[in-house]
Amino acid sequence: MNFDFSDELLQLRDQARRFLTDRCPPAVPRRILDTDEPYAADLWRDIAEMGWTGAAIPEEYGGVGLGRLAICVLAEELGRAVAPVPFSSSVYLATEAILQFGSEQQKQTWLPKLAAGDVIGTFALAERPGSFDPAKLTASVSNGRLTGMKLAVPDGDIADIAIVATRSGLHLVDLNGAGVTREPVATFDPTRSHARISFSAAPVDTLPNADIRRLLDYAAVPMAFEQLGLSQAALDMANAYAKERYAFGRPIGSFQGIKHKIADMYIQVELARSNAYYGAWAVHTDAAELPVAACVARIAACEAGWFVTKENIQTHGGMGFTWQMDCHLYYRRAKLLSLALGGAREWKHRLISELRARNTLLEAA
C-alpha cells in the first residue's frame, strides 16, 4: 500500500508551498479584499507560467501532463495561501469539463489557451437559492443559442469562457461575445469575485456527452484539497497563537479549554485529509467509487473548514475578529468554498443515494 503522493508530487508540493509563501503571503488576498481589483492577475500569470494551469492537460493540448493528482497537490497549497486566483473555476471545472466531455476540436481550440492561462474559464450552474437539480434548470439552448440567467458565478466577471449547465447538458460560451451581460455581485468573501450572468441568445458550442454530476464529482476532489489546505493553515495559525499568547501568566495553549479545542481542530483536519486522499485516489484511477469518494471528501472538507476557521477566530479572542488579523481570510474563504459546488447537506443526500445504488461498498466501510 502506498496511500500517499509520490515523491515527485511531494516535491511539487514543497515547490508550490515555497513559491506561494513568497508570492502569495496574506497581503495578496488582502489587496484584493481592500481594493476593486477582482483577482491577483500577476499571481495568475506566474502560476500559468509554472505550468500549474496546464498540470492535468496532456502535452498534446499544450499542458504538462502531470495528471489530476498534481492538481490536488497544487489545490492544497493554493488553499493554504488563500490565493485570490480563478484556479478552481478555470482548472477543476472549465478545463476538466472540456477534457472529459469536449470534442477533439473543442480540446484543440481551448485546452492550450487554458493551459497557458491566457483564457480563464468558469462554470455557471446555479439559478436559484437551494440545491442543484439538473431537471429544474431553466436556462436553455435552442438553435445553438443560450437564454437564461446564472447567479453568483465564481470569477464570472473575469472569466473569458464559461461552461454553462442547462437541462440539455453543458455548453461552452464566450463570455466576451454577443448576448452576454455580466454584473458583479458582492459576496462575503471579496477575495474571490463573482458575477451574475444573463444570456440572451448567446451563441454556444455544446460539449458532447456531458454529465454535470460527474463534473461536480471530479471538481469536488481538488476543491476538498483546497479546503484542506485552508483548514490546515487556520489550524497552524491557532496553534502558533496559543503558544505565544499569554494570559494569567501562562500561554493560553496550556489551558485545556484552548488546548483540547486545538486538538479537536487537528482531528477534523486529519479526517478531512484522509478522506481527501481517498478522493484523490479515486480521480487518479477513475475508480467506480469516485462518486462516493467525492462525497466523503467534500463532506469532511466542509465540516473541517467551518469548524477550524471559526475556532481559529475564537482562539485569537477579541483580536480574532479584527480586520487586521488574518483569521477572517480563512473564515470567509472556507465558507465560500463550502458553498461552491453546493453545500455539505446536498452532498450528504447524494452520498446516501450513491451508497444505496452500490451495496457492496458498504461492506468496505
Binding site: 446555479a126 440545491s131 455581485v185 462575503f188 501568566g249 446536498e346
Partner: protein, 411 residues
C-alpha cells in the same frame, strides 16, 4: 405557574406603554434587526438623545435605582417590564447604557458625594455620554493584566498606554478608566479607577475595523494624559474592586444574539427548493429546525425563569451566563445551516437574498458574539466556578509582583 403580570406589574406596564406610544414609533412586525444597524444613520444620535431626555423626565431611567441616586426606587422587575415594552419600539438607547448602567452605579457605590452630584443626572438625561476604557491589547480575557500606567504627579495622575474594544470614544464626553498605579504589587492590587474627560489633550482614538467591515470599536491611546486626583474613584490601589462593580453590572444582562433565529430559518426553508421539493418538507431540515427551535425555546423560558426570580425579589445570579454562550453558538449554527441550504447562491450579500441577506451578514459579525463581554471559555469558567462551585484554574501569576508575571515574547 403563569405568564401574567401581577396587578401592580400590569399597571406599570400600561404606564410604560403609554409613555412609549406618545414618544416613539412601534417597530414593524417581523422586522429583523441586524447587528447594530441604525446606530450610524444620520441624525440617529440627536434623536436618541432627545428620546432619552423624555424617558428621563417620565421617570423611566434608573427605574430600579434608589431615590438617593436619582432613581425611581422601583423594582428590578419594573426595569425588565419597561425594557420588554421599549424593545417593541424603534428607539436607540443602547449607546447610553455604559454611562447609565455601568459608570453611574460604580460612581454611586465608590465615588464621592461631589462626583455623584456632578455626573449621575447628566448621564441619565443623556446630556453627557460615557464610554469604557478597561480592555487592553495584551490583556484579553485576563482583564486585570492591564499595563496602562497611572503615575502621580502633584494633584494629577499622568496616564500613558493603550486601551482597546472601546465603544463610542469619539462621541463620548467621559470615560471610565482603570490603570496601573503600582506594578510592584500583585496584579489585582496595583490598579486605580478614574473618570476621564474625553476632551483632555493627549488622547488619540483610532477605529478598529472588524471582520464585518464596520467599526464599532476603537483603540484609544494615551500620551501623558492628565487626570486630576479629584476624578479618582475609590482608593488608590483599589481599582480592581471598583472595576468589579462595573463588571458585575455588565454581566448582569441576559444577552441574546441578534440575527437570524429559528423563525428566519423557517422562512428560508419555506422559500427555497431542495432535491425533493420545498426545504421545509425535507425531514433533515425539519430535524434541524426542531433542534434549533427547542434551543431557542429553552433560552426564552430560561429568561422567563430569571424574570420570575426578579419578580420575587431574588437576585438572578451568574445563571444568566448560559444565555450568552448558548445564543451566540446557536446563531453560528443557524447561519451556517441556513447558508448551506441556500447552497451555491449562499455567498451573495444583500437584500436580494432570501430573508434579506441576514444569514450572510451574520456570518461576518457572529464570531464577535462568542468573544465580546467574555469568551465562551470565560463564561464556562464563570458557570463552573460561581454556579457550580468548581475550583479555579491554577494561577501561574498568583502572588507575583505584576512586573514579574510571565508574558511570553510579548512586550
Amino acid at each position: 405557574m403563569d405568564f401574567e403580570d401581577t396587578p401592580e406589574e400590569a399597571a406599570f406596564r400600561a404606564e410604560a406603554r403609554a409613555f412609549l406610544d406618545a414618544n416613539a414609533e412601534r417597530r414593524k412586525p417581523g422586522e429583523v434587526e441586524g447587528y447594530r444597524r441604525g446606530q450610524d444613520a444620520p441624525g440617529a444620535m440627536e434623536r436618541a438623545k432627545d428620546f432619552q431626555r423624555r424617558k428621563y423626565e417620565a421617570g423611566f431611567v434608573g427605574i430600579h435605582w434608589p431615590v438617593e441616586w436619582g432613581g425611581r426606587g422601583g423594582s428590578p422587575i419594573q426595569h425588565v417590564i419597561y425594557n420588554q415594552e421599549e424593545a417593541k419600539y424603534d428607539v436607540l438607547t443602547g449607546i447610553f447604557g455604559i454611562g447609565i448602567y455601568l459608570a453611574q452605579p460604580t460612581i454611586c457605590t465608590w465615588g464621592t458625594q461631589e462626583q455623584r452630584e456632578r455626573f449621575v443626572k447628566p448621564a441619565m438625561r443623556a446630556d453627557e455620554v460615557w464610554c469604557q476604557l478597561f480592555s487592553e491589547p495584551g490583556g484579553g480575557s485576563d482583564l486585570a493584566a492591564l499595563r496602562t500606567r497611572a503615575e502621580r504627579d502633584g494633584d494629577d495622575w499622568v496616564i500613558n498606554g493603550q486601551k482597546i474594544w472601546n465603544s463610542g470614544a469619539h462621541y463620548s464626553d467621559f470615560g471610565i478608566l482603570v490603570a496601573r498605579s503600582n506594578p510592584d504589587v500583585a496584579k489585582h492590587e496595583g490598579l486605580t479607577f478614574f473618570i476621564l474627560d474625553m476632551k483632555t489633550p493627549g488622547i488619540e482614538i483610532r477605529p478598529i475595523r472588524q471582520v464585518s467591515g464596520s467599526s464599532h470599536f476603537n483603540e484609544v491611546f494615551f500620551d501623558n494624559v492628565r487626570i486630576p486626583d479629584s476624578r479618582r474613584v475609590g482608593p488608590v490601589g483599589a481599582g480592581w474592586k471598583v472595576a468589579l462593580t462595573t463588571l458585575m453590572n455588565e454581566r448582569h444582562g441576559m444577552r441574546d444574539a441578534p440575527g437570524p433565529d429559528v423563525a428566519e430559518l423557517f422562512r428560508l426553508a419555506e422559500s427555497i427548493e431542495l432535491e425533493d421539493g420545498p426545504a421545509i418538507d425535507d425531514a433533515a431540515v425539519q430535524e434541524k429546525l426542531a433542534e434549533f427551535y427547542t434551543r431557542s425555546q429553552g433560552l426564552k423560558y430560561t429568561k422567563f425563569r430569571g424574570i420570575t426570580a426578579l419578580s420575587k425579589g431574588q437576585t438572578p445570579g451568574p445563571e444568566s451566563s448560559i444565555i450568552k454562550v448558548v445564543a451566540a453558538n446557536k446563531l453560528q449554527d443557524i447561519l451556517s445551516y441556513g447558508l448551506d441550504m441556500i447552497g451555491m447562491a449562499g455567498p451573495t450579500m444583500g437584500d436580494s437574498m432570501p430573508v434579506a441577506g441576514i444569514f450572510e451578514e451574520a456570518l461576518l459579525y457572529s464570531p464577535a458574539l462568542r468573544l465580546a463581554g467574555g469568551t465562551d471559555e470565560i463564561m464556562k469558567n464563570i458557570i463552573a466556578e460561581r454556579v457550580l462551585g468548581l475550583p479555579q484554574d491554577p494561577r501561574a501569576d498568583k502572588g507575583l509582583p505584576f512586573r514579574d508575571i510571565p508574558t511570553g515574547a510579548r512586550k
